[in-house]
Amino acid sequence: MKLSGAKIIIETLIEQGCDTVFGYPGGAVLDIYNELYLNADRINHVISAHEQGAAHAADGYARATGKVGVVLATSGPGATNLVTGIATAHLDSVPMVAITGNVGVSMLGRDSFQEVDIMGITLPITKHNYIVKDINRLADTIREAFKIAKSGRPGPVLIDIPKNIQTELAEFTPHTAPEAPYATLIAANDELSMAVKMINEAEKPFIYMGGGIYSTGAGKEIRALSEKIDAPIASSMMGLSAIPYDTPRFLGMQGMHGDYAASKAMNDADLIIAAGVRFSDRATGNKDKFSPGAKIIHIDTDTAELSKNIEAHLGIVGDIKDALARITAAVEPKEHAAWNAACAQLKKYAESAYKNYGDISPYEIIKAVNRRWPADAVIATDVGQHQMWVAQTYKFSTPRTFLTSGGLGTMGYGMGAAIGGALGTGKKTVLFTGDGSFGMNLNELATAVSQNLPLTIIVLNNGVLGMVRQWQTLFYDKHYSSTTLGRATDFVKLAEAFGAKGYRAATIDEFNTILDTVCKDDGVNLIDCLIDQDEMVLPMMPPGGTVDQIIVTRKEISE
């Protein structure tokens, strides 16, 4: 059966299990869009307001569902607009296939209209990428892209498809099933025996989990290990929602803005069992002084992560879920009463230390949403103070419900991600954002309304770029350079202009009243929450600092 390249693209996408494509049409992908039109009953296309939003939506879709997210854009500016979205997915190991059109093969390299070397541009921010110059390679290239995107440590793969490849004809043989991922390496027995020995000998074992637990769904294995060896657990931000917040011995997020108890206990441990983490500088602070008394067992599916940032005493490469289960089966059951009591004491101290500030505290706002929204609601954030407040405060109880840009820290990520998460899961979705981040991609309100998504947007509006302002307060003598926005944007009217409902709250009582209405609504709602510009994210470990330098309360900040 001879098919056009465009038709082959659609058939292969469907064959690989893709049900939704996020994208934006343009000259170099007209043939693909024609096929999307003809196959609208088999594959859904969601048009965004801007290609960046589509890329973040594919990312949010992938994080929330565990499937490969697919984004489609035209050549030139369409392709370059994907770049931030692809880099975001790359840094957070999100499976994504990005398809771009390009000018015809004979026009390549001549600076043709809307020509850009997107393969060259995305080389360092993709797991792999392709330009297809032979239509006979098209179907297998797309299949391989899906396979690479979801294998091992997941990541984005880009396929650049010149226009003539979309129109040429080639023989197409459908496959009956999506490509299976490459076989994951299984951890070696002697390594696991060594881990078991180290765990058996530990007095203060500590489990540190990250995005690898989120993406492999190994929360159950983490909990079983913690249960058997009586070890406290902390999560990096990327691991949040992989285990329920009320898991016994779970101390919360660790790191720069992590829970004081989690960071301190990790520092005091004599053995850290790190699984699916990469010891980012935001998680460790000063690497040379990181948990000085601890031996480190590092388990990851990506060998290059072992000893990349923090030297491991034992590095184990392999399937994380399998490695954790085999370790748990082999270790001796333990009780570490004194160690856990010390951790509980730290937790108690941390909880009592922080005092809220302002009439409408962001913490109270997040808790109020948390109380009213279902346990499986998808929670997306942008980047900045609000993101940290959500990471610290929201009690996640369902895996894959937290969508946030950790590695790249992409302001403007949230709107797209929330749209992708809501579309992928069909669940009620909340976006927590700040007035700064929201300003970056608020145009995607149009997409959310057009898709009639059950999305509530909480803008924690302090009129400043709060996180940068916080650093300026603490480290730059309060020189508020370009962080006081002085804008007059009316977010309520803005929401209404886009066809959503808009509300404003200046006190927590007003907020709660609005929330009572909004939580029953299944459309797009925006609540503009006026919070104090001097709210801070605490605790805070100064960049490159140590646990001893964590600022826990405002009192510790000299005015």
């Binding site: 990506d302 060998t303 030297e311 005493h313």
Partner: protein, 181 residues
Amino acid sequence: MSTEIKEMLIAIRVQDQFGVLSRVASLVSRRGFNIDTLTVSATETPGISRMTLSLKGDEYTRKQLIKQLSKLHEVLEINQIDDNNSVTRDLLLIKIHTTSENRQDAMDAVNVFRGSIVDFARDSLVIQLAGDVGKINAFVELMKPFGIMEMCRTGLISLDRGNTCLKDSNMNYINRMDQQF
């Protein structure tokens, strides 16, 4: 981990696909590794190229470079060349000034180093010399008094001695690089 800076040679076999050279070069540069030489060549198998990278670095650099390169989709095999059990060659082409007075001195040096003269002009010579880095460096040093007009080197290529072949290397060792027991 040892922080001693050592010279190392890394050999990789890659699928000869569009962009593979820039993929390797991009990885090396964005991870901050400073390579001294990089050669790319055909192999005994059509569709597969061999790259040889020489660089200086510590133990961390060595492990990270090998592990990161091994993640590239096109990289089939990768290994560090064992200095004691391999042959390594660099090829030099060098053009020097000569006069009728000093030409014989230059030709004597070429003979001693077992190089060859590939272009002979009235007041210049182009000399070709193959060997390991030390030999080539020594020869270049020797040519300086004549006046080096221009020179180029191919960079290092290397093969294991005996029956050992890169294509037979067990990639699994990469996953065992962090065992410290």
